[in-house]
């Protein structure tokens, strides 16, 4: 993905991340590259354990340093390689230029600090304002996520899941970041609240012009919210492109398998069609196409390194025998 477009906000190139645990190395991210344009949303799709959260945390450099380690790669934010930036510079970027929302709203907030103060803390870190002004700005943020001003001094345990997530969103967007990393923001919420939260996020993003990387395993959410999509399997991006490319022209056997496994009640199907097998053990050093153990179309040639083929403009697929359009 060596696009030369200048309005790329974020550019990740050949990111490799490893974890060491009990003397063994876990290959979490094995050479991931993608780009994100300003104001757009990229959906990162994949199963649990595919490496999506690791990618997001590497961008923000909040991985726990032992045991995780970024082995190689570049993460360019508007041209600056975040992996080479000094820690004190990084502090200014976190929360201000890039923010992150985490998966479980129940544990994402500090239980002994009022929600208002948690938002205000972020504001004061990145803006030179007094405590009172920060408080006012925090209240504004709360109102923009439709939480009443009076609740500023309340503690997280006094809020429900959906409200907590809205607080987290308010906190993340309080300093008007350029990039928002949302790691499965609605997975822990029920469906009706999901819609609310996603709507809130979309409104705010439109207001502020924030780009977003939305990590999820729910294709429905991808369809509703994303501009571009990247599919991850075993720490590698196996297919990427625009939303239409992926949804209408899925080519990689894994992507095809994902869509097939969606239950299609409308078509009268009575059984599910999961993909056979399990994701590979991340302790094994990746070699060749890691999907070959489960791929119905695998051949001997798949054991060699697979190049990333550009099927159509912007639509990439890492397979030597992508599904042909019928």
């Amino acid at each position: 993905m060596m696009s030369e477009k200048n309005d790329n906000l974020l550019s990740v190139r050949d990111l490799v991340v490893e974890y060491t645990s009990g003397g063994e190395i876990i290959h979490a991210v094995n050479g991931v590259s993608f780009e994100l344009e300003k104001g757009k949303t990229l959906g990162l799709v994949g199963e649990t354990g595919a490496g999506k959260t690791t990618i997001a945390k590497s961008i923000l450099r909040v991985l726990l340093s032992p045991p995780a380690k970024v082995k190689s790669g570049e993460i360019l934010l508007e041209g600056t390689d975040l992996l080479k930036v000094r820690e004190d510079e990084m502090l200014k970027i976190r929360g201000a230029k890039i923010s992150m929302i985490f998966q479980d709203p129940m544990t994402a907030l500090n239980p002994t600090m009022t929600i208002g103060n948690q938002i205000a803390e972020g504001i004061r870190l990145h803006n030179d304002v007094s405590a009172l002004e920060a408080e006012k700005m925090a209240i504004d943020m709360l109102q923009s996520v439709r939480i009443m001003e009076e609740r500023f001094h309340e503690y997280p345990f006094q809020f429900s899941g959906g409200m907590k997530q809205r607080v987290v969103i308010a906190m993340a967007l309080a300093c008007k970041p350029k990039l928002l990393l949302a790691d499965e923001p609605t997975t822990a919420l029920d469906v009706t609240i999901q819609a609310q939260v996603l709507d809130t996020m979309r409104d705010l993003r439109n207001q502020l012009g924030t780009s977003m990387i939305l990590i999820t395993h729910d294709l429905g959410i991808v369809a509703e919210n994303c501009d571009t999509v990247a599919v991850i399997y075993a720490g590698q991006i196996v297919e990427s492109g625009s939303k239409e490319d992926i949804f209408d022209h899925a080519s990689h056997p894994y992507t095809v398998g994902l869509f097939h496994s969606l239950p299609m009640w409308a078509m009268g199907e009575k059984r599910l069609h999961p993909i056979d097998g399990l994701p590979p053990d991340p302790r094994i050093e990746p070699n060749g196409c890691m999907f070959r153990f489960r791929c119905p179309r695998a051949t001997k040639a798949c054991e060699a390194t697979v190049p990333n083929a550009e099927l159509t403009s912007g639509h990439f697929c890492r397979c030597i025998a992508p599904k042909e359009e019928v």
Partner: protein, 322 residues
Amino acid sequence: MLRYVLQRLLMTIFVIIAAAILIFTVMYFVPGDPAKIILGPEATAADLADVRHQLGIDRPFLVQLGSFMYNTFIKFDMGTSWFRNTSVFGGMLERIPRTFLLGFLSIVLTSLVGIPMGVNAATHHRKWQDKGVISFAMVFMSVPEFWVALLFIIFFSLRLNILPSFGIGSWKNYVLPILSGALAGIGGIARYTRSCVLEVVHADYITTARAKGVMERKVIYQHMLPNALIPVLTNVGTSFTRCIGGTIVMEKIFSFPGVGLYLSDAIASRDYPVIRGCVIVIAAFTAILMLLVDLSYGYVDPRIKAQYVKQSTKKGKIKNVA
């Protein structure tokens, strides 16, 4: 919250009174005739009857109980020690400050040294600080307090002769008892703090804080510790309740004339008024300290405070909104 406090206060008073009744009843039924104990076997029957009358133990049980309760709680007269002929209350007044100081300073020292040690160990997980703290804790939690005390006496009092080994003459007399009492505690608190902090270290909200751009130091002190230390403070708070009653071993070894030694001597010589007085005082202190500690939790952890408020209101004005 005020309501909660009042309710608890009432319960505390009730507990103290119940303890008084219990100890009186127990001592009443314990075998042994107090008059014979005081006068010895050579006393004549007339003398014994005389003493029994003086002590008031020839009256029926309920009358004695009533008079005891009245004297103790209304007049603050706990009677006179049978073997020392001094007022029990006076004896307690002298000794409570000594024991309290000993117990209190012991716990303060334990916390001041142990908690930072634990935090240090947890934030340098798996490095030498961590290993050092664990070893220290293991060693000092395994050895008995009195052994450590005796070692200190031999070393500081006998060999180096810089600290006294008995009594309460000056501040120097407090050093060794507090030190030996605190060592085991330091190990325990350090270990406990370490594990509490480790639990918090991997919490999501810590990552959130980092993701906001908070400095690592602030992350530790403003986000990790306030949460991690809540159970630790619970632990420390509980040890405060044993401030008065828990010093007996140190008092015995250092001939430190405090409440513990008073009680232990009284038990050995069957000095009933002193035993009763000591037990009541210890119960009262423990109950009150426990109340104070519980209230402090409410101050530290807002979730607990909400619980207290909820408990004490009949129709919950619950602030939880979906």
